[in-house]
């Protein structure tokens, strides 16, 4: 069976390639009726309320100019957030929340597109739909339109929320965010044609997104005007280079628009040339006899690919960002005001420590997403009916769960180790400090993973809510301080309780409390799993 088209080329998508798109779009929006509004609302609220926080923190133009200069002068901070292009509140919002919103719009888009294309084919649901009055290109079109709906709503929310500070600039920022989302929607559309697995399609797109973020970071570390070729290679860098509220370079928006067009056409070309359910990277035959003998071995076999990918990603990101640590203490010689600000912030060592801490905190938050996803493999195995025949063998539920949980918990430790090691290798100093600051993230990462264990064990129908909890924790810790959120809200995230290593003193109490909480949640989750019915169709 070949996955490629027969010798006679299919003319595009056959007759009426778009038939049924409207119905499929309604189906997609109905299935995403919670996902899309929540995502758009949360992101829109963060960006818009960010303006209020910046007004509160830096009320005068002089204060804003000071922060703009000092942030832009420091290459490490530039690598994290990009340069600041102006001293208006809007420019600071675009700087602090623009890239953040663009990246998260990209994540939303890739989830939506893969969910309505490859995932439908992988589960076999697409076959039933395609047998109806549905054109060959309709599913992809409906998925892209669903992503467009979400991104347009987000762009609108950002524009409307910031319009009071300059309608044109607000529109430029909204479009920069929304178009970045659409760039990755079309990247996901291509990935969905290439692979047979929805998980792999999401992973490939996320890897492209990660590379785009790293390219921008590396480019911005080198130059303070966003003009590095590396930045220009990155769709995330384009969003930054629109310079919303600081000159509004509209022509830059042509880049993402062109990328959407080119990638979209490529995806359509590919989808017209393959069979439903097949891909261009088709499955190869496997061994006729297997050596897998245990539930743990099966779990490893199912998860090793994704763990390898994540570990490599963390190692590379660690290497890249480790190279920027030196810059944290850069005091741009001719800028007296920046020097003053830095001295006030604690001088070179304090800045280096703060940068290391912020970076490893970021790695910790992303590792917690891995932990949750890895734990929820249990949920996926169960709802796809693959757990049932395994558990009908002489495999206890605890042993079945243990295989996946060991990978989730040890795997997230491995990720942080890889990131710490990468940073140490390119930073070249203080291995103990760097690895210690990486390790201290682990209790918070594990706590969120343990919450997923509890949900899966005790309330399996609500297991995916673990994504929401983890996402919220990450969002609170990532942008909460910049939003000037009250301490009570910041305390909701386990990351908020960790000692700020390096720099601050090690505090054992929160670490031990989180570890004890982790143990308790895992035990409760496993107890629930032993007692409850298996989720069946």
């Amino acid at each position: 069976m070949t996955a490629l088209a027969p010798a006679v080329p299919r003319a595009g998508g056959g007759s009426r390639p778009l038939a049924g798109t409207g119905t499929l779009l309604r189906l997609a929006l109905r299935r995403d009726r919670v996902l899309l509004p929540v995502w758009v609302l949360v992101l829109g609220t963060v960006v818009v309320s960010g303006a209020g926080s910046i007004d509160a923190l830096y009320g005068t133009r002089a204060q804003r100019a000071e922060i703009a200069v000092s942030m832009t002068a420091n290459s490490s901070l530039r690598s994290l957030y990009g340069p600041v292009f102006g001293d208006s509140t809007g420019a600071l919002v675009a700087w602090r929340f623009g890239v953040f919103a663009a990246v998260l719009a990209a994540v939303m888009s890739l989830v939506v597109v893969v969910r309505h294309t490859r995932e439908e084919e992988e589960t076999g649901r697409q076959e039933l739909l395609s047998a109806a009055m549905v054109g060959r290109r309709a599913p992809l079109t409906a998925a892209l339109l669903a992503a467009l709906t979400g991104n347009a709503a987000l762009a609108l929310a950002v524009t409307a929320g910031l319009a009071g500070r300059g309608a044109g600039s607000a529109l430029a920022l909204g479009l920069a965010v929304g178009l970045t989302g659409m760039v990755f929607a079309t990247t996901a559309a291509i990935a969905a044609q290439l692979t047979e697995s929805a998980r792999l399609a999401k992973g490939l797109t996320a890897a492209v997104l990660g590379a785009a973020f790293v390219l921008r970071a590396a480019g911005d570390a080198g130059r303070d005007d966003g003009g590095s070729p590396l930045t220009w290679l990155s769709p995330v860098g384009w969003a930054e280079n629109v310079r919303a509220f600081a000159g509004d370079r509209w022509w830059v928006l042509l880049l993402p628009a062109a990328a959407v067009l080119v990638q979209g056409l490529a995806a359509y070309e590919l989808t017209g040339r393959r069979d439903v359910g097949m891909s261009f990277l088709p499955a190869r035959p496997g061994p006729a006899e297997g050596r897998l003998a245990t539930a743990g071995g099966l779990a490893w076999r199912l998860q090793r690919g994704s763990l390898t990918g994540w570990t490599l990603g963390f190692l590379v990101a660690g290497l890249v960002f480790g190279g920027m640590v030196e810059g944290a203490a850069d005091l741009v010689g001719d800028n007296e005001r920046a020097r003053e600000v830095f001295e006030r912030m604690g001088g070179a060592q304090a800045l280096t420590d703060a940068f290391l801490g912020a970076l490893l905190g970021l790695f910790g938050m992303i590792a917690s997403l891995y932990a949750v996803g890895s734990v929820l493999r249990l949920h996926g195995e169960e709802t796809s009916q693959r757990a049932e025949p395994v558990l009908a063998n002489a495999v206890g539920r605890l042993r079945w769960a243990a295989g996946h949980l060991v990978i989730a918990f040890a795997g997230s430790a491995l990720l942080l180790l890889a990131a710490g090691l990468g940073m140490y290798l390119s930073y070249g100093q203080d291995p103990g400090t760097v690895l210690g600051a990486a390790a201290v993230q682990l209790p918070a990462v594990w706590f969120l993973g343990a919450l997923a264990v509890l949900l899966h064990g005790a309330a399996p129908r609500a297991a995916v809510a673990a994504w929401g909890v983890a996402g919220l924790s990450v969002a609170i810790s990532w942008v909460g301080p910049a939003l000037d959120l009250p301490q009570a809200v910041l305390d909701l995230s386990p990351f908020g309780h960790l000692p700020k290593l390096p720099g601050a003193d090690m505090a054992w109490q929160p670490v031990l409390v989180l570890l004890a909480g982790t143990a308790l949640l895992v035990a409760a989750g496993l107890a629930g799993l032993r007692r409850r019915d298996l989720v069946t169709a």
């Binding site: 359910g277 499955a283 297997g290 690919g305 025949p389 063998n393 019915d533």
Partner: protein, 298 residues
């Protein structure tokens, strides 16, 4: 031990749905037992309770004399299960899955495995999603038949097999019975049940409505009779147990409760029989009677 499976008064609810409402099921050791019922009548739920995947609300369930919930793991060494809807991992080959299931059950007979792969004409090198429904079922069937177990629990295992493979399946089930194994076979393919099963249980809405050997069940239903008589018949309509009587001159067609057959035949011979065909009730008729009842009840 005489009974491999004993289920009594089993209840199970999912939210407001009452899936099992006092189900009884007895399967003697060494028999092939047919488990019949309309879609959604509770067959798979019963099987999942027997496998310890679901916990019954009340009632008793015993598999090989033990509690399937509490002793699940030990019991599963002696039980092989084939689900109706076999889902495989995308990146594992069929052969890997067969060997994995076999080892998780405590080992499988390599020679028997090879023979079964041959007989079912299965390509074990293909991976998960590239198998058709029937081929996915073959993977689960080979794993089950190649295991050294006492009980086979098969939940609509042949819904995707072609007639040739259906024949191989039936031969395998007979071999299992000849080795003294117990088989619980849930199925909608009545010819399969008729040719394989020693005894049958029919369930409806989570309750057992009939249970017994096929001759016993036939006894409970109607025989159809068609006769060409020498003279028009007399008084047939008044005989107890006669249904759907149609008289067309000297041609007679009727259905009769099987235990009332004798007076009908006497009445026919009084009129003089020129030709007579009598068909025993098929399982299908038996089945349809219960299904139709349900359709009416709805």
């Amino acid at each position: 031990m005489t009974n491999a499976i004993t289920v009594g008064g089993l209840h199970k609810s999912f939210g407001r749905t009452h899936a099992l409402a006092g189900l009884d099921l007895t399967v003697a050791a060494g028999e092939v037992h047919g488990f019949l019922g309309p879609n959604g009548s509770g067959k798979s739920t019963t099987i999942r309770v027997l496998l310890g995947l679901l916990r019954a609300d009340s009632g008793t369930a015993r598999l090989l004399g033990r509690d399937p919930w509490r002793d699940a793991v030990e019991l599963h060494r002696r039980v092989a299960y084939v689900p109706g809807d076999v889902t495989l991992w995308r990146n594992l080959s069929g052969g890997e899955v067969i060997d994995l299931y076999g080892r998780l059950r405590g080992g499988l007979d390599a020679a028997r495995r090879a023979e079964l792969v041959e007989r079912f004409e299965l390509d074990p090198t293909k991976k998960g999603r590239t198998y058709s429904k029937g081929n996915r079922q073959k993977v689960a069937l080979v794993a089950a038949f190649a295991s050294d177990v006492d009980v086979l629990i098969l939940d609509e295992p042949t819904s995707g097999l072609d007639p040739l493979m259906e024949g191989v399946f039936q031969a395998c089930v007979r071999e299992e019975r000849d080795r003294g194994r117990t088989v619980l076979l849930s199925s909608h393919i009545l010819s399969e049940v008729e040719s394989l099963c020693d005894r049958v249980s029919i369930i409806r809405k989570g309750r057992t409505v009939e249970s017994g050997s096929l001759p016993e069940l036939r006894h409970l239903t109607r025989t159809s009779v068609e006769a060409e008589l020498a003279a028009p018949p007399n008084g047939l309509a008044h005989l107890p147990g006669v249904h759907d009587l149609r008289v067309d001159g000297t041609r007679v067609r009727l259905q009769v409760d099987t235990d009332r057959l004798d007076p009908v035949l006497r009445s026919l011979t009084e009129a003089g029989v020129r030709s007579l065909t009598s068909a025993p009730p098929t399982l299908e008729e038996l089945f349809l009677r219960h299904y139709a009842d349900e359709a009416v009840a709805r």
